[in-house]
Amino acid sequence: MEGVFDYAPAIALFPLVAFVVVLAFGTYLPKKGALPGIIATGGSLLLSLVMAAAVASGEAYHETLYEWAAGDATSATGVEGVSFTFGLLIDPLAALMLVIVSLVAFLVHVFSLGYMNAEGETGLPRYYAGLGLFTFSMLAFVVADNLLMAFIFFELVGLCSFLLIGFWFRTKSAPSAAKKAFLVTRFGDYFFLIGVVAIAATFGTVAFAGDDSFVTAAETAIDGGDQLFGFDAQTWVTITGLLVLGGVIGKSAQFPLHTWLPDAMEGPTTVSALIHAATMVAAGVYLVARMFGYYALSPTTLAIIAFVGGFTALFAATMGVVKDDIKQVLAYSTISQYGYMMLGLGVGGYVAGVFHLMNHAFFKALLFLGAGAVIVIMHHEQDMWKMGGLKDKAPVTYYTFLAGALALAGIIPFSGFWSKDEILYDALIVGLEEPVIMAAYAMGLLAVFFTGFYTFRMVFLTFHGEPRSEVAEDPHPVGWSIKAPLLVLGVLAVVAGIANLAPVAKLAGVDITFLEHWLDGEYGAIEGLTYTAYGELLAYETSYIGSEQVTVLVAAGLSLLLAFSGAGLAWLLYNKPEPVAHTERLGSAGKVIEDNYYQDEYQVWLAEGLTLPLARAADRFDQTVIDGIVDGTSTASLFGSDRIRRLQTGIVTNYAALIVTGVIVLLLVLGFLGGWF
């Protein structure tokens, strides 16, 4: 099957072609450009499946395809010459991610037929071109075999995100949200780019894999006790790792750079599903997984990742509790869920983190698309308090949404339970040795309760009870282009957990952790990029409560108990014919949460209250002081020049003559002074 990898570049290039075609001819195409996108992403999906099959048959692919730039530079570790290339790295992780991204992209394209085209939107070619460019960039990011290429496409997906959030540019809010999204993530990318530059300058390579990867080089430098840029190698690896992490925190919407994601809901819901739930936001977490070997070298960085993740999981979940807009609930839920993935990776749970990434992509895309269906049904109403009673009127939407909700809440046996449980289990066994991780675990665990609560609050308010508005009584029908993607994702949300039933495996002693074997290179793999290889680099100690089995049961029991309590509380409060808001009962705490802990305020203040006035002050300084000196000099000389202003005739030849004369005179003077004659 090795030959099939020759076609791998096409996975990303198909959507690029679709982008170009739609951009140039979209207006004249049937469906305004939807079809090229569907065909291209369908092609990408098929090829991605072929790649996964090739990996399953024991192959992997790492090939440099194009040299972007090269030159001489001596790295801090003494490597001569550097080459920046584009290449493909298709290993189990990338193959899995390819399938996830192309599948969701394909389904979102199909869904768009019902969501965007049916509504008679203007600017559809722009929309489909944006989706095409995004899918291209995202897929290219996934297969990137080096850090610089990853950065390049990381930025490009940010551009697409900007363009698509701002799709309804004629409104005031969408352009503002688009700007915020790009700026906040750019702030993270600033650190990321320093990290890329630092890693390139340190090790002379940015390759993820192979003998000359920066991961291997870093390991060698640490073992050799090298001094790098005035730090010992261990510290420098931590610093550069944290710099790259800046980009991760921005893109994966982790605290404190999470503020852009809820605003990004200004974009079409399809865009939210594809970009701001399943794929682009996953890019950050994926990057951590992609260069996990590098992070595994630095326990400090890992602990920070875990702590940020655990904190974000809890922090965002609490905000989701009080939102009234269905998309806002999902946005905070997304932030929270990516927190779990960070927690998982941070505690060394590489498999658990990736597992949750996969499950979340499916069930969150499902929930967003379900919310999109609800929005269509509700004639563009997003306020859950105006919904209610949609359960019987839109059964397909309801049951698929419910599947997604059960997965999100982490209710056994839906997919989200298995991966979230595995993350919490991994965090617990490390946390028993490391207090910091224990704190992260505790936050992650507590977040389970809030997750269960906000998820079912959303389900009950939207679908249960009596209709609370006229549109809710008279729903708009949805077509099969909307229902079919929901069904596909609904099935996945239910069954995807089978991929890695780790607790069952541990309790029953059966070998059914397929994903772990997959990521551990039992099929195809690139040397050094396997779960076991990462495990060897990790410095974490683990221990159990009693035995492994007991710990498994305790972890799963605790998280299930909390999930059921959260969901149960929502059931008590909101599963009524006429539910009422309970937010006021939270008192002043509720106010703080509704205002998102003033995170937006302080960031807006940083931009508009601090930077902008500073810029204006700089401008005044520039106009008055610096330019004042310039003008002052000229005013002083104006007195003198008043006499000779007759020279200013405005005739070119006169000026030319003056300059030539001036040059000659000056030469003569200097020549005379210099003893030239």
């Binding site: 030159g71 530079a73 950065f151 700026l183 300058a201 840029f229 020549g671």
Partner: protein, 512 residues
């Protein structure tokens, strides 16, 4: 004789257009300008030089002949190109052709003089990049000012007189400082040089004993340092580097669009090109060394301060003008890093910024043609009425922000990479990281401006009927966009020849 042909076509073309009827001047000038563009592309394809023009490299298209014997010094007509100057020549010819196209709409009086001056500028700009004799070079260098002065002074905005005079006087005074310093250097070298040929002077400075003669009672070592500083300041005005930048926004705001395109696109590069050719090639590193940290600090200040100023503006043209100050700061940082990627990236950035700023000024110009305002506060939702022009403006803005796979990203990345690991520059990582913060601010001011001017509900404060721009306004922008993306995807198109010419400069640094 290809370079002479290039110059002659532009000069003669200028003369022909100058006397042509106004009615056909624009089209005629465009047709003529295609000849230098074609020749320069041919030069690019046939380029067979290697090494650095000043450091015993093999010049391409070289020609040299005795011109004037001036006391002990020979002035020679000496032209040729290496990997640093050729990309800038191509940039000049292409940008001129496109600038002429973009003038068709806004220029509606004294056309023949306008287009004649544009071609005249082109000739002199080419001259600046190909001349290898100081005297010849200086004539071109100074001659650039006249047509630009007139372009701003005659076809400019309401404050054109002030802006034109400020531009002319400021840069001219700077040129005098630089000229005086250079002549002092030549005298200081004494018998070691017998001409104004730049390679000969460089050889005397680098491989010879350098300045040996005291001048005006200043000892040779101090004299060399003084000359370095004076020349740096002279060029700093042209670049411009903070705090010598205040002529730039005024000139840009008043200048007609095509003049802005050439001003930002090529004229500013004269400054950085000269810094590279003179300050960072002719002087041994031990002369430069004491100034490394101050220059890097000025570079960082230019980046951040320039960007902050751009953030405070509400005039689209002023925003782009100040952002040039910021971008040129990166170039200075790359030059002072004294590594292949730093200096090479700086040279790449000169070309890249020429294309991107040219594109931005054109796009702003097209919007101005339709709306007769450039204030972001006067308009919103322009994307609704001018989708293509605004689309290009957005693309240009992202190019300016250093979006990957557009040329600006490679230029900046190479500079950052080159300067981060520089051993010549103390605290290199700190300076680099500080300068890099510019990429956040640039996104801030450009997106903020976009949000207000081109997005949102359509509204225009002026009384003009906004219509779509004609093809001859749009086409040049597509050409630029194509070049920006081509260089972003395949930087080696020019980076290879640039590094080839940069290497000998770096080698001067000895064990660097």
């Amino acid at each position: 004789m290809l370079l002479e042909t290039l110059l002659a076509v532009a000069l003669l073309g200028a003369a022909v257009v100058f006397v042509a009827p106004n009615r056909i001047a624009g089209k005629l000038a465009f047709a003529i300008s295609l000849v230098p563009a074609a020749i320069s592309l041919w030069l690019f394809a046939a380029f067979d030089g290697s090494g650095n023009a000043l450091l015993e490299g093999d010049l391409a298209f070289e020609s040299q002949m005795e011109w004037i014997q001036f006391g002990d010094y020979a002035i020679t007509w000496f032209v040729g190109v290496d990997g640093i100057s050729l990309p800038l020549v191509v940039l000049t010819t292409i940008l001129t052709s496109l600038a002429i196209l973009s003038s068709w709409t806004p220029i509606d009086e004294r056309e023949s003089q306008f287009y004649g001056l544009i071609l005249f500028i082109e000739a002199n700009l080419i001259g600046v990049f190909v001349a290898l004799d100081f005297f010849v070079w200086f004539i071109f260098w100074e001659a650039v000012l006249i047509p630009m002065y007139l372009l701003i002074g005659i076809w400019g905005g309401p404050r054109r007189k002030y802006a034109a005079i400020k531009f002319f006087v400021y840069t001219n005074v700077a040129s005098l400082v630089m000229f005086g310093a250079f002549v002092a250097l030549v005298f200081g070298l004494g018998d070691a040089v017998s001409s104004f040929a730049l390679p000969e002077i460089t050889d005397a400075m680098i491989n010879g004993d350098g300045v040996q003669t005291a001048l005006f009672g200043v000892d040779p070592t101090t004299l060399t340092a003084l000359v370095f500083v004076a020349m740096f300041l002279g060029f700093a005005v042209k670049v411009p580097i903070v705090p010598f930048h205040t002529w730039l926004p005024d000139a840009h705001v008043e200048a007609p669009t095509p003049a802005s395109v050439l001003l930002a696109g090529v004229l500013l590069k004269m400054g950085t090109y000269a810094l590279l050719r003179f300050n960072f090639t002719m002087f041994p590193t031990d002369v430069i060394e004491p100034f490394v940290v101050p220059i890097a600090a000025i570079a960082v200040i230019s980046v951040i301060y320039g960007a902050m100023l751009a953030l405070a503006q509400t005039d689209l043209k002023r925003i782009v003008a100040y952002s040039s100050v910021s971008s040129m700061g990166y170039v200075i940082l790359g030059l002072i890093a004294f590594t292949q990627f730093g200096v090479g990236g700086a040279t790449f950035q000169m070309v890249s910024h020429g294309l991107i700023s040219g594109l931005m000024f054109m796009a702003v110009g097209v919007i101005y043609n339709a709306t007769h305002t450039r204030m972001v506060t006067d308009m919103s939702g322009m994307a609704d009425r001018m989708p293509v022009a605004v689309g290009i403006l957005i693309a240009g803005a992202f190019g300016y922000m250093g979006l990957p796979l557009m040329s600006g990203f490679y230029g900046e990345f190479a500079i950052f990479f080159g300067s981060f690991g520089s051993e010549f520059l103390a605290y290199a990582p700190v300076f680099t990281a500080a300068a890099m913060f510019g990429i956040v601010i640039v996104a801030g001011y450009l997106l903020f401006a976009m949000q207000r001017a081109v997005f949102g509900p359509y509204n225009l404060e002026t009384e003009y009927e906004v219509t779509r721009a004609p093809l001859h306004d749009i086409a040049p922008m597509f050409v630029l966009l194509g070049l920006i993306i081509a260089l972003g995807v395949a930087p080696e198109l020019i980076f290879e020849m640039i590094t080839d010419a940069v290497d000998p400069i770096i080698a001067n640094g000895g064990d660097l």
